[in-house]
C-alpha cells in the first residue's frame, strides 16, 4: 500500500473512532459536572458582592439553569451536532470563540514544551545509554531524577526570579509584549522570548521522562541481536548508536509522547497560572471555578480531540519509522 493511502486511511479510521470517545467524554463529563456544588449564578452573584432574589433568578435563566438536567444535556448535544459548543453568558461570548482564542496559545506552549523535552530528553538519554553504568550516566541520571521530582511551578517561579528579575534577560508573563504592536521577525522573536521560560518549565518534567525512557529503550534495543550484527559488520560505535539503536528505540518513545499530550494539558494549568499564559488550561480552571460548564465541556471535548489527533499523528509517525506497522 502506498504511504499516503496508508496515512489517509489511518487518519480516517482514527477520526471515526474518536466520535464515540468524544461523545462518551461529553456525556460522562456532563453528568459528572452535575455533582459539582454551586452554579454559575451563585458565582456571579458572589463576585458582585451582593445580589437580590430577582437578580439570581435572572442569572439562572440566562445560564439555562432553570431547565431540568436532561433537557440541558439534550439541548447541548443538539447544539453539538451542529458543531456549536454553546454560549457562555458569563463571558457573553460563544464557547467556540472563547476556546479557539486560547487553543493556539496552548498548542504553541505544549508543542514547544514537548518538542524541547523530546529533543533534549532523547539527547540526554542517548548520552546516558552510551555511557551506561559509567559516571556521565550516573550524574545525568540523578540530574534527570531531580528534574523529574521538582514541581514544575517551583521551577517556573525560580526561573522567573533568576532570568527575568535578576538578569532581566527575559520578559515576564503573557505571550508577547503587550501593546508593542510588532510585526514580522520582531514579533516572532518577541514571542519566542516570551515562550522560552514557560516552555522550559513545562518541559523539565518531560525532559526527565524522555531521558530515562530513551536510555532504557536504547539499552533495550542495544541488547537486541541486530545490534550485534551491526557491530559484527565493523561499523563505528556512533553509527551503531544512532542509526541502529536510536531509530529502533524511538518507537516506544514516540508512543509515550502521544500519551503525554493529555498530561501536558493538565500540567499546563499550573504553568499557565505561573506565567500568565493565556491558554486553555487557565480558561479551564477559571471555568471550573466559575461553574461555567459550557466552556469547560468545550475545553474537555477539544482537549480530548487534541489528544486523539496527537495519537493519530504519532501513529502516522510510527508508520514512517517502523515499516512493520501497516495501515489498518
Amino acid at each position: 500500500m502506498a504511504m499516503p493511502v496508508r496515512v489517509g486511511q489511518r487518519l480516517a479510521w482514527t477520526l471515526l473512532q474518536a466520535i464515540p470517545t468524544a461523545l462518551g467524554i461529553i456525556i460522562l463529563n456532563f453528568l459528572f459536572l452535575q455533582l459539582v456544588p454551586g452554579d454559575a449564578a451563585e458565582v456571579m452573584a458572589a463576585e458582585s458582592g451582593s445580589a437580590t432574589e430577582a437578580t439570581m433568578a435572572l442569572l439562572r435563566q440566562r445560564f439555562g439553569l432553570d431547565q431540568p438536567m436532561l433537557a440541558q444535556l439534550l439541548s447541548y448535544l443538539t447544539k453539538l451536532a451542529h458543531f456549536d459548543l454553546g454560549f457562555s453568558p458569563r463571558y457573553n461570548a460563544a464557547v467556540m470563540e472563547l476556546v479557539m482564542s486560547r487553543l493556539g496559545n496552548t498548542l504553541v506552549l505544549m508543542l514547544a514544551a514537548l518538542g524541547l523535552a523530546f529533543v533534549v530528553g532523547v539527547a540526554l538519554g542517548a548520552v546516558m545509554s552510551a555511557f551506561a553504568g559509567k559516571w556521565p550516566d550516573r550524574v545525568l541520571s540523578v540530574f534527570a531524577l531531580l528534574l523529574y521530582s521538582t514541581p514544575s511551578f517551583w521551577v517556573g517561579l525560580m526561573a522567573i526570579v533568576f532570568f527575568s528579575v535578576h538578569l532581566g534577560w527575559l520578559p515576564i508573563g503573557s505571550k508577547e509584549t503587550i501593546g508593542a504592536s510588532l510585526s514580522g521577525l520582531d514579533l516572532l522573536f518577541d514571542r519566542l522570548r516570551h515562550l522560552l521560560l514557560p516552555a522550559v518549565s513545562l518541559a523539565t518534567f518531560y525532559v526527565a521522562i524522555y531521558a530515562r525512557l530513551t536510555r532504557a529503550a536504547m539499552l533495550e534495543a542495544g541488547h537486541q541481536d541486530f545490534v550485534r550484527t551491526a557491530r559484527a559488520k565493523g561499523l563505528p560505535a556512533w553509527r551503531v548508536q544512532l542509526v541502529h539503536i536510536l531509530r529502533n528505540a524511538l518507537i516506544p518513545i514516540t508512543t509515550l509522547a502521544g500519551l503525554h499530550f493529555g498530561h501536558l494539558l493538565g500540567g499546563a494549568v499550573v504553568i499557565e497560572t505561573v506565567f500568565e499564559w493565556p491558554g486553555m488550561g487557565r480558561l479551564a480552571l477559571d471555568s471550573v471555578m466559575a461553574r461555567d460548564f459550557n466552556v469547560l465541556l468545550g475545553i474537555l471535548l477539544l482537549a480530548s480531540l487534541l489528544v486523539i489527533a496527537a495519537n493519530a499523528l504519532i501513529d502516522v509517525l510510527h508508520a514512517l519509522i517502523d515499516p512493520r506497522i501497516k495501515g489498518r
Binding site: A232, K233, G234
Partner: protein, 349 residues
C-alpha cells in the same frame, strides 16, 4: 607468534568467564584455510562464548580471562577497537543463530548489506547498491532489485538467513563464523542454507567455523569436527574419522552419537529404547579433574583429580581422555572390543 601457514585462525588457551561461571576453559583450536570446522557440543558448553570472544562481541558481563587467538598476525583478543572494526565484516565475519532478529527491523535489507560495503570498501552510494544487489543475487534471492528495499519482516526465515550470509560474505572474509545458523529453520531450509554456505566457501575460498549441536549436520557439511564439553574441547578429528572409522573415542562423543536417533531403517521405539547419557550437564563452577567424569562409566579415580590432556591418537585425531587411549588397551583387547563392551555396560544402567 604467527599462525601456522595453513591456519586462518589459531586459538590458544582461551578462557572466558561470566562472573563466577567459566564458560570456556582453556580452549585450543585452529581453523585451516578453506575448511569447514564444526564445533559441536550440548547447550551451554561454551560454543557461542567462543565465537563471540573471537569477534570480541561478548556481552559486558563476560570477561576474556586469558588466551590468544591469532588471525593472521593479529591477536584478536588483544586487538584495539579500530583494528577490530577493520577486520569485522571484512576478513572476519559472523552469522548468528536467530535469523528472525539479527536484522535491523527498520532498515531495508539492501541498505544493511550496502552499509557493510560502504564501511569497508570506499564505494559510492550507487556502487554499494549495485554490489549489494549482486550479493542478494549471489545468495539466491529472486528479484534482488525489488527485494533491496524490502524490510526483514517481509522475508521468510530462510531468506533472512541468506541476507545475513550476504552481509557476512560481502567483505570476502577469510573466516566465516556461523553460530548455529539453522537451528531456527526447517530441515528443507536448513539444507538450502548450509548448501549455500558450502558453495560460497568453495567459491570465495574462505574457512567456515560452523557451530552446531546437531551431529548429523556436522556429518553432512563439515570437514573437521571439534567436540566441546563444559568449556573444553574433548575430541577433535576429521568428520570421516569421527563418523566412520575408527569412530569417536571420547566417552562423551560416543554417548552423544549413541543417543542421537539413528536414521537407519528399523529404528523405532518398538525395537529398542534410546540410549541416555546418565547424569546432568556439569555445572560451570566446579573445576577439578575431567569435567565429564561424574557422568562417565569409564571414569577412574584419577579422572576426578587430574584434568586429562589432549593426546594425538592418530594423525589429526585428538582425544582428551586417558582411559580410552587406544594404545593403552592394545595389549588386552582391540579398541573396538573395549568400546563395544562399554556400550553394553551403558545399556545395562
Amino acid at each position: 607468534m604467527m599462525t601456522h601457514i595453513d591456519n586462518v585462525l589459531e586459538i590458544r588457551g582461551l578462557r572466558v568467564a561470566f562472573g563466577q561461571t567459566v564458560a570456556v576453559r582453556g580452549l585450543d583450536l585452529s581453523v585451516r584455510s578453506g575448511e569447514t570446522l564444526a564445533l559441536v557440543g550440548e547447550s551451554g558448553s561454551g560454543k557461542s562464548a567462543t565465537a563471540l570472544a573471537l569477534m570480541r562481541l561478548l556481552p559486558q558481563a563476560a570477561r576474556i580471562q586469558s588466551g590468544q587467538a591469532f588471525f593472521g598476525d593479529i591477536d584478536l583478543l588483544q586487538a584495539g577497537q579500530a583494528a577490530l572494526r577493520k577486520l569485522r565484516g571484512k576478513a572476519l565475519s559472523m552469522i548468528f543463530q536467530e535469523p528472525m532478529t539479527s536484522l535491523n527491523p527498520v532498515m531495508p535489507i539492501g541498505e544493511q548489506i550496502a552499509e557493510v560495503l560502504r564501511q569497508h570498501e570506499s564505494l559510492s552510494r550507487k556502487q554499494a547498491r549495485q554490489r549489494a544487489t549482486e550479493l542478494l543475487d549471489l545468495v539466491r534471492i529472486a528479484e534482488p532489485d525489488r527485494r533491496y528495499k524490502d524490510y526483514a519482516h517481509n522475508l521468510s526465515g530462510g531468506m533472512r538467513q541468506r541476507v545475513m550470509i550476504a552481509i557476512a560474505v560481502a567483505g570476502n572474509p577469510r573466516l566465516l563464523i556461523a553460530d548455529e545458523p539453522t537451528t531456527a529453520l526447517d530441515v528443507t531450509i536448513q539444507a538450502q542454507v548450509l548448501d549455500l554456505i558450502d558453495r560460497l566457501r568453495r567459491e570465495l575460498s574462505m574457512a567456515v567455523l560452523l557451530i552446531t549441536h546437531d551431529l548429523s549436520v556436522v556429518a553432512q557439511w563439515a570437514d573437521r569436527v571439534a567436540v566441546m564439553y563444559a568449556g573444553e574441547i574433548v575430541e577433535q578429528a576429521s568428520a570421516v574419522k569421527l563418523f566412520h572409522k575408527p569412530g569417536a573415542f571420547h566417552p562423551y562423543t560416543r554417548g552423544l552419537l549413541k543417543s542421537t536417533i539413528s536414521d537407519a531403517p528399523g529404528s523405532h521405539y518398538r525395537n529398542a529404547p534410546l540410549y541416555e547419557i546418565p547424569g546432568v550437564a556439569a555445572s560451570a563452577v566446579d573445576e577439578s579433574g575431567c569435567r565429564f567424569a561424574p557422568r562417565c562409566a569409564l571414569a577412574l579415580d584419577s579422572c576426578r583429580k587430574t584434568p586429562p590432556l589432549p593426546e594425538l591418537i592418530s594423525p589429526g585425531h585428538l582425544v582428551s581422555c586417558p582411559v580410552v587411549q587406544p594404545r593403552k588397551h592394545q595389549n588386552s583387547s582391540p579398541s573396538s572390543a573395549v568400546t563395544h563392551g562399554n556400550h553394553d555396560a551403558f545399556a545395562l544402567r
